[in-house]
C-alpha cells in the first residue's frame, strides 16, 4: 500500500504541476457552469413586455380591456402600431403583441368575442399567462353581453357594477425552480463529460508510461502490475473528487445555483459515476494499442455518448429512438438520478438507478481486466 500511495503522490504532483491540468480539471467545469447560466439565465425573470395595437377606436369595452391587461402583475404594456410591433418582437424588445381589431368591442357586447389577436415569436411560454387572464375577463363581459343582448341599459348597468366590483385577485409569486433544475442538469451534464475526459486522461498515462518505458522500471521494482493500476485508479478518483467538490461548491456559493439536492447526496451520486467513468477509461485503455489510439477512441466514445445522453441539452427534446438508445448509456442514468433527486425522491428509492450505475462500472472493469489478461500486445512494451 505504501508504494501505491507513493505512486499516487507522484502522479498528483506531476499532474498539478502543469498549468494545463488546472484548466482541464477545474477551468472546464467552471466554463460548463457559465455556459449553462448563459443558456438558461437569459430566459428567466423580468416583466412580460406586451405591445398593444388598438384598431377599435375609443370604444369603452376596448379601452377597459387594455386597462385590464395593464393592471396585470409583471406585465408592461406599450401602445404601438403594426410596423413597430413586428420589428420590436423580432428584435426582442417586446415579448408579444395584442391586436384589438375593429369590431372587437361589438363582438364582446354581442356575447361572441372576436377580433383579438395575440402574436409572439416565443410561443406559449410568454402568451399563455396573458391569454388565460384576458380570456377570463373578456369571457365574463361577453356573458353579460349575451344575457342582456336586447337591453343596452341592463348591459351598461351590470357592466358598471362588474367594473366596480372587479374581482379580487390575490397574486403571490412562487419561485420558479424549473430553470434552476435545468441549469443544474446541464451543468452536471458538462461535469459528467469532463469527469469522463479526466478519467481517460489519467488512465492514458498507463499507456504513455508503457511507451516511454517507465512502466518497465516501475514493474521491475517491488510494485505489482495490479498495485500500479490500482494506484492510477486511486489517483483518478482523487482528482475527480476534487473536480466534483470544486464544481459543486462553485455552483452553490459563487454562482448561486441551488440544485435542490443535499451536498452529500450529490457528491455520493457523482462519485458513483466517477467509478463508472474509471471503468470505461480502463476499457478504452485495454482496447487501445498506443496513446494515439487511446485518444482517438476517447473522442469517438465520450463526446457522442454525452450528446445522446443529454449532457449538452435536455433529453426531452430528442427523438424517441435516440432516447431509447440513451438508456444504454451511464450518463443518461446519472442525469436521470439527479432529476429524480431534484423531484424530491429519496436516495433509497433510486435503487434501480444506482444499481444500473454500479453495473456499468463493474461491467466495464471486468471486460477491461479480461482484455488486459488476453492482450498479447503487452509484450510490445517490454
Amino acid at each position: 500500500m505504501n508504494n501505491v500511495l507513493w505512486i499516487v503522490r507522484r502522479s498528483l504532483r506531476a499532474t498539478f504541476r502543469k498549468k494545463s491540468s488546472w484548466i482541464v480539471y477545474f477551468g472546464l467545469p467552471v466554463a460548463g457552469i457559465l455556459l449553462s447560466m448563459l443558456v438558461y439565465g437569459s430566459s428567466s425573470g423580468g416583466d412580460l413586455k406586451i405591445g398593444v395595437i388598438n384598431q377599435d377606436g375609443d370604444r369603452a369595452l376596448t379601452q377597459d380591456a387594455i386597462r385590464f391587461v395593464e393592471g396585470l402583475n409583471n406585465v408592461k404594456v406599450t401602445m404601438t402600431d403594426e410596423a413597430s410591433l413586428k420589428k420590436d418582437i423580432a428584435s426582442g424588445k417586446l415579448d408579444s403583441g395584442l391586436v384589438f381589431e375593429p369590431g372587437f368591442a361589438d363582438s364582446v357586447r354581442e356575447g361572441h368575442p372576436a377580433h383579438l389577436n395575440l402574436v409572439s415569436a416565443k410561443g406559449a411560454e410568454v402568451t399563455s399567462y396573458v391569454k388565460s387572464m384576458l380570456d377570463s375577463y373578456i369571457g365574463n363581459v361577453a356573458s353579460i353581453g349575451l344575457a342582456t343582448k336586447d337591453d343596452p341599459q341592463a348591459f351598461e348597468s351590470i357592466y358598471a357594477d362588474y367594473k366596480q366590483a372587479g374581482f379580487k385577485l390575490d397574486a403571490r409569486s412562487l419561485e420558479d425552480t424549473s430553470k434552476v433544475k435545468d441549469m443544474t442538469n446541464q451543468t452536471i451534464g458538462f461535469l459528467l463529460m469532463f469527469l469522463l475526459f479526466s478519467a481517460v486522461n489519467m488512465t492514458e498515462l498507463i499507456i504513455k508510461e508503457r511507451e516511454d518505458r517507465t512502466f518497465l522500471r516501475l514493474l521491475s521494482s517491488p510494485v505489482s502490475a495490479r498495485a500500479y493500476v490500482f494506484a492510477n485508479v486511486l489517483c483518478t478518483l482523487v482528482i475527480q473528487l476534487l473536480q466534483i467538490v470544486v464544481t459543486l461548491l462553485l455552483m452553490k456559493n459563487v454562482f448561486h445555483i441551488d440544485s435542490g439536492i443535499p451536498f452529500g447526496e450529490m457528491l455520493g451520486t457523482l462519485l458513483l459515476f466517477s467509478l463508472t467513468s474509471i471503468g470505461l477509461s480502463l476499457l478504452l485503455t485495454a482496447f487501445a494499442k498506443n496513446s494515439k489510439n487511446a485518444g482517438a477512441l476517447q473522442n469517438l466514445v465520450i463526446t457522442p455518448t454525452c450528446l445522446l445522453a443529454g449532457c449538452f441539452f435536455p433529453a426531452e427534446i430528442m427523438p424517441d429512438t435516440v432516447r431509447k438508445i440513451a438508456n444504454f448509456l451511464p450518463q443518461r442514468w446519472m442525469l436521470d438520478t439527479i432529476a429524480k433527486l431534484q423531484d424530491g425522491q429519496s436516495f433509497g428509492s433510486l435503487a434501480l438507478n444506482l444499481v444500473v450505475l454500479i453495473a456499468f462500472a463493474t461491467a466495464f472493469t471486468l471486460v477491461a481486466i479480461y482484455r488486459f489478461s488476453r492482450n498479447n500486445d503487452v509484450r510490445q512494451f517490454i
Partner: protein
C-alpha cells in the same frame, strides 16, 4: 558464490521459443558480458531475471533464492538500467531518482542521502534540479543509471547503457560500471559495442537462438577460434568487387565489406591470401592495405553465430 544462477530456463511465446533451456551463472563481483544479436533472446532473459516476464520452464535463483517464489526479495536486490531511457521528462533529476528509490521502501533522510549519492555518482549532483529535457543524451543515460542504483542493488543489469552517446559520456559510464563493480556490485552488461565488452567484462556469454553457445573469459572465448584467422584488406574502387566469388575461395568462412575494408574470416590452416588477392585483381579492385588481425571478440562472435553483432 554465484549471485545469479539460471537453470534450464525456457520462454515460449506461443510456438516461438525465445529462450531455449538456458543455463548460466553470474559470480559475485564480476562484470558479466551478455552478447547476442537482435532477437537472440538476451532481452527476454533479462526480462525474466527482472520478473517482468513469466518463466515458461526452468528456474532462476538470485543469491540462492528463487526469484519467482521470493519475487520481492529478488526485485529489492536487482537494479535495471533499461536500453531505452526510463525516466520522467517532466520531473527533475532529483525527483526521478528519489521516486524510483522510494519504490524500494526508502524514505526520509535515508532516501535523500541515497538520492544525492546516486546523482553524485553519475556526475549529475550539480544538475539535480534540472529537468531531463534540458539534458544531453549522455546525461540522460547517466540519470537512467542513477535511477537504478540508488537502492544499492546486489546485481545491476545494464542493457546497452551507452547507445547513442558521445565518447566522453561513454567513458564516464564505463568508469562508473567499473566503480560500481569495485563497490561490490555484480553486473550483467549487454552491448552492441564489442570493444566495450572486451574492455570491462570479466566473463562473457554468447547467446544465439535462445541458447548459450559459448561462455568464459575473453581469453577462453578467443581460444575457441584458434582454427580461424581474420584478414582485413583495405580497398579503393570496390565497385566491381564480387563478394560471392571471394566466399567460394577454399577455406573462407565469411566475407563482409565495411567502409572500404574487406573483412575475411578464414580457416587458419589454409593459406589462401594469394587466391584472395588474385580475385581482387581480377575484379579490378585497388588494394591499399592487407593485415591479419589477432583474434578478437568480434571474430569469435562472427565465427560462432555466423552473424555480425549489429545484425
Amino acid at each position: 558464490m554465484n549471485v545469479l544462477e539460471i537453470r534450464n530456463l525456457t520462454k515460449k511465446f506461443g510456438d516461438f521459443i525465445a529462450v531455449d533451456n538456458m543455463n548460466l551463472s553470474v559470480r559475485e563481483g564480476e562484470i558479466f558480458g551478455f552478447l547476442g544479436a537482435n532477437g537472440a533472446g538476451k532481452s527476454t532473459t533479462i526480462n525474466m531475471i527482472s520478473s517482468l516476464l513469466r518463466i515458461t520452464k526452468g528456474e532462476i535463483e538470485l543469491l540462492g533464492r528463487n526469484i519467482v517464489k521470493e519475487s520481492k526479495f529478488a526485485k529489492m536486490n536487482i537494479g535495471i538500467v533499461p536500453q531505452d531511457l526510463a525516466i520522467y521528462e517532466e520531473m527533475s533529476a532529483y525527483e526521478n531518482v528519489s521516486f524510483f528509490a522510494g519504490l524500494y521502501g526508502l524514505r526520509g533522510s535515508l532516501l535523500k542521502e541515497r538520492t544525492v549519492e546516486a546523482l553524485d555518482f553519475v556526475g549529475l549532483g550539480d544538475k539535480h534540479k534540472a529537468l531531463p529535457k534540458s539534458f544531453s543524451g549522455g546525461m540522460k543515460r547517466r540519470l537512467n543509471i542513477a535511477c537504478a542504483i540508488a537502492h544499492r542493488p546486489k546485481l545491476i543489469i545494464m542493457d546497452e547503457p551507452t547507445v547513442g552517446i558521445d565518447p566522453q559520456s561513454r567513458n564516464y559510464i564505463l568508469n562508473s560500471v567499473r566503480m560500481l563493480n569495485r563497490m561490490g556490485c555484480s553486473i550483467i552488461y549487454t552491448s552492441h559495442y564489442m570493444e566495450e565488452v572486451e574492455e570491462i567484462c570479466t566473463r562473457i556469454a554468447i547467446v544465439d537462438h535462445g541458447k548459450i553457445i559459448a561462455e568464459g573469459t575473453k581469453e577462453q572465448l578467443k581460444s575457441i577460434i584458434t582454427d580461424t584467422k581474420e584478414i582485413w584488406i583495405g580497398v579503393k574502387k570496390e565497385d566491381a568487387l564480387d563478394l560471392e566469388a571471394l566466399k567460394r575461395i577454399s577455406g573462407i568462412i565469411s566475407v563482409r565489406l565495411e567502409e572500404q575494408t574487406i573483412k575475411i574470416v578464414s580457416k587458419a590452416e589454409i593459406n589462401n591470401l594469394n587466391w584472395i588477392i588474385q580475385q581482387l585483381i581480377k575484379d579490378q579492385v585497388e588494394i591499399s592495405s592487407v593485415e591479419e588481425q589477432a583474434p578478437n571478440l568480434e571474430t569469435v562472435f562472427l565465427t560462432l553465430t555466423g552473424r555480425n553483432l549489429r545484425d
